[in-house]
Symmetry: C2
Subunit: 631 residues, 2 copies
């Protein structure tokens, strides 16, 4: 089964890339673009920057201490995509491996001399994930052999120490290698790495132990904290260990940490991490939009974690958060041409960024860049989109659950379904049964979709388009958020129709989020919207929303010119939203603290909003997700 996560137990079982075939659509277009453009883009940049050359022994070595991991992430992407460049690149990597399995272009000759910052086990983690991807989507080859030898080396070297790596990642990789091979030492190594963290297992660093989650044992923590990617990778590994060892307490601990983090430390987009200084979660409710860091890799890590928790528990809220993050972080982080990327994904950009052709030395989020000094995000996007189909649907003994709506076909057991939808632009999802079968079909109803309806139309005698006909259709019924389930025997041609209400809606923050007080955002379906200062938009610093008038969906428009690559039609659709707004700035440009309140008012105007994931594709601009509420 071709899936990055294949637990041996859990409420739901994932379907793989072989079970879920994507057709053109929001995600299908992006997956194609990723395969045809982004993967090659990443490979070219890593050749240019010398990070691949490091494996050829070229000196001086180039790139940061963790740059090996980028090649491994790309190899994982190539493995899922069935990309022809995988074999020669894997061969280059293989030749750099030492006799005992050690492999690292930065620390060779000086092994494990800086576990806090060296990233050696982190790099292995990505190598092993690439190996597992290759094994599952192709079979044994040179890459899988290199990954296993590295994993065996790690087990020999670290099984009986109390050490770990400053950057978690290898934990989930080792569990997956255990799942793929059955070799229990990998699971035991992962279990020990999870358990020894926080005893503590690492030395002091100036950022403090919480930075790399070595301040507390995993099962004692209350919330995710410190460096967001580290925290979320560790939690993912802990879930994997908990599931494979039947450790209910550990699973519950991560669930509780996730719950508090989602309630108090997550941006509207699903983005995680408030602080630029150490790429960390802030404190509870510390969520200023200006400086939302919301790193792309943290968003991906959050999707990975939510997917694992969904599989373990079957709870729809994990898929809800994954969906929010997919549409508003992952889809945002890559440009429509597949060649430039956001590292940070702030919710407010006050000054248009300077265009930059070359390597971006900073991680700011004003404009997508073709490459970064720390270029973790592009390769992480590549491997995630390459394995996107693995997140769409799952199975349990009773049938299939569809979590994310995108056109394509899903097969499991006797059930074969075709999903037709314009989601997220349209709320209509049609699931067509392709052959006679029996089993339950469950469709996720997102929490915002109050009033969603479901109907079933039988192919036998039911006229097309009359789902409520007595002969073959079931009545349209309202379904609550969670999973809407249709049970029964199926005939080829039967149809299930889910209708999700897609009105644009206002969203208000919890009063404890200081930085958002008196502000409002617009969402529609799973999409967060934003104002963007291209065309003739008014100055975004001076607008406010009139929330007494509901936001209105504007006509769909194809505002993005054709790219050079094979961009799917879907990617040129933009469903805008218009809101009633006021425009007005205080006259004063003086000390900004005064004896009287400064009411948010101005002259009536309308403001057009675009989906957040689309912003920044038309050149430098200002942008804001949260707007002041006009008084």
């Amino acid at each position: 089964m071709a899936n990055p996560v294949l637990p041996s137990s859990g409420v739901l079982s994932p379907l793989g890339l072989d079970d879920v075939r994507l057709a053109p659509g929001f995600w299908g277009g992006r997956v194609t673009l990723n395969r045809d453009v982004t993967i090659a883009h990443c490979q070219e940049w890593m050749e240019r920057e010398g990070w691949i050359g490091n494996f050829r022994g070229r000196r001086p070595r180039r790139g940061r201490e963790f740059s090996d991991s980028e090649i491994y992430k790309l190899l994982e992407a190539m493995a899922w995509a069935g990309h022809p460049d995988l074999t020669p690149l894997a061969e280059t990597v293989a030749r750099a491996q030492e006799g005992d399995g050690y492999l690292n272009t930065r620390w060779t000759g000086n092994r494990y001399s800086d576990l806090e910052w060296g990233h050696e086990l982190y790099c292995y983690g990505h190598l092993i994930q690439a190996g597992v991807a290759r094994l599952r989507n192709h079979g044994e080859d040179r890459l899988t052999e290199v990954a296993r030898r590295a994993a065996d080396h790690v087990c020999r070297r670290f099984m009986d120490t109390n050490e770990t790596c400053g950057h978690p990642e290898i934990e989930m990789a080792l569990v997956e290698l255990y799942r793929a091979t059955g070799a229990e030492r990998y699971l035991e190594m992962a279990r020990r790495l999870v358990e020894r963290r926080g005893l503590p297992a690492l030395g002091e660093i100036h950022l403090g132990r919480a930075y790399f989650q070595d301040d507390l044992p995993v099962r004692q923590a209350q919330v995710f904290r410190g460096h967001a990617v580290r925290a979320l990778y560790l939690a993912s590994g802990a879930v994997d260990v908990a599931v494979e060892t039947g450790d209910e307490a550990l699973l519950k601990a991560i669930e509780a940490q996730w719950e508090r983090t989602v309630a108090r430390r997550t941006h509207l987009t699903g983005g995680m991490g408030s602080r630029h200084a150490d790429e960390s979660f802030g404190e509870d409710y510390e969520l200023p939009p200006d400086r939302a860091y919301s790193e792309t890799c943290a968003g991906i890590a959050s999707i990975m974690l939510a997917h694992r928790l969904l599989l373990a528990t079957g709870d729809a809220r994990y898929a809800d958060v994954a969906e929010r993050t997919l549409y508003n972080v992952l889809a945002t982080a890559v440009a429509l041409d597949g060649r430039s990327f956001f590292y940070a994904n702030p919710l407010r950009v006050r000054v248009p960024a300077e265009p930059l052709d070359g390597v971006n030395h900073a991680a700011e989020g004003g404009l997508r860049s073709p490459w970064f000094d720390v270029s973790c995000c592009p390769n992480n996007i590549a491997r995630t989109l390459a394995s996107f189909a693995a997140y769409v649907a799952t199975a349990d003994p009773g049938g299939i659950q569809i979590h994310h709506y995108t056109p394509g076909e899903i097969r499991h057991g006797s059930l074969a379904l075709r999903v037709e939808t314009g989601y997220p632009w349209s709320g209509e999802v049609t699931v067509r049964v392709l052959s006679d079968a029996s089993g339950r079909v469950s469709l996720r109803v997102p929490p915002w979709a109050t009033g969603a309806t479901l109907s079933r139309t039988s192919s036998a005698g039911s006229p097309e388009g009359s789902p409520d006909s007595a002969s073959g259709g079931s009545a349209v019924r309202t379904v609550a958020p969670g999973y809407a389930t249709v049970e029964g025997e199926w005939r080829a041609g039967d149809v299930i129709r889910l209708e999700l209400p897609m009105k644009a809606r206002w969203t208000f923050p919890d009063r404890r989020v200081d930085a958002l007080r008196g502000s409002v955002a617009v969402e529609r379906g799973p999409l967060v919207y934003c104002a963007e200062s291209v065309d003739d938009e008014p100055p975004l610093a001076d607008v406010a929303a009139r929330v007494t008038v509901p936001p209105a969906v504007a006509a769909a428009a194809a505002v993005v010119p054709d790219g050079e690559g094979p961009i799917e039609v879907e990617m040129r659709v933009e469903m805008g939203v218009e809101i009633a707004a006021v425009l007005g700035a205080p006259d004063a440009d003086e000390w900004p603290y005064r004896a009287e309140p400064d009411p948010v008012g101005g002259a009536d105007t309308t403001l057009r909003l675009v989906p957040y994931h689309r912003w920044g594709n038309r050149g430098p601009a200002t942008m804001r997700v949260w707007l002041p509420v006009a008084e």
Copy 2:
């Protein structure tokens, strides 16, 4: 004249430490504590950390690349304080100077190999300022000689290049050395360093050229940007150059940059700098209280700049901002025992900091620390408090201007005045004329002091306490913010009384400061207040202010136990404020973005506020300056 800044022209002339004698009071107590405790504390820590040992040639060298500057700042503090340890410490420094004047313990043997980050000219700047302090408060000695030799070396090495230092500071030091010695090469060197910056004069760094103000020529910039201390030191040097060279355009440019920065990039406390990641100003109106960086050194630099602009222009608004920063950044940054310090001064602390006895590796602002890896702030506080008297008053051909009210005596020409006041706890300021004289006396009326009154009582025949008596007193008149002036001939015993209204008051933010929308703060006189979670305060995350009830001053209380040092009585006074508040948290602990507004309400309570500069003197606590406005 003993003053760190002695321009040869300008609307106002500074008075020196010899003209202004401080008596016990808010600042007098702090200046004494600084002289008796803080200076020795800094010296001890720099011996312990090896930073002084570096000058003795001990290897391996210890401390950061700029640690030499810390010894120089301490020498400046010692020079102003007339401290006996100056001579041996200066001797230690002198012995490390090379034959041609070069002096740096980090880069000796590898001079000027990293101008972007090396801080060599920055260190000279502090050395030269120490030398000037010594020259003015004592006379020529070994320290002044070392400083001059270093300055001469800099002029020889850099006069005809296009290079500069990554950290501005030497510009103002060289101008001051010119002022103190008359040697024009120092002014010319300073002028060239100011002018060549931004052409650009430095190499690329990953933080971008704006970080060290090398993105634009000084006179073309619109606002202070990048690293806050660097920006403010550069601006101070530019003002000094402008004043000495009669460059009106340059002066106007800095005034305009200051004006926009104060209107859009300054915290309520006067603190400057929003971002932790690069210690920089954020964009306009990017002022989240959580992560206000508001570095102590940036506050000091802002006071230095405002003082220079005040001298050049005579405009009260510069003294207004200086006062705000003195009371709410400088006074905040040092503990009541003089032995621990804030580096960052955030306006919100959500989680009590962990107590720490040793060196603080971070710059977070949760608890004052005895020392830091980057320990710029303690020595900067020491030199600023040691020269505090220099900021109090100025003179012009017509008389004396008093800018900051603290008990003491001020003498200039024939005028000798004694100031008696309990400011900032009380708004009554009494200025007693000590001998017969003539001249104008001007008293600054801060912008919040609407309704301030002034009266003059003649000693001849006027009964004590009847300022409006026809015989010897003038009528009480209301005076507007700015300078209130009394002209005339004076007899010993004449009295001027200024009465500043000291009601606690609500302060609201400009609507453009997103992170403060719907919030309110309390100020009283020059003091910003805050809620602090010691004693039995309610959880600060769940309180809101009822702004329909005016804040009330609570009885003065001596809540701080006697320290070990000779703390003045004044430092034990605390004038609290009580406000009507509501207390209530939402029940939900779930996704914090919802379809309905979350009104700020709760059960009625009262909340006690303390002056912001006093917070954190009673152990770990949460704190907030801005409170939500209850609906």
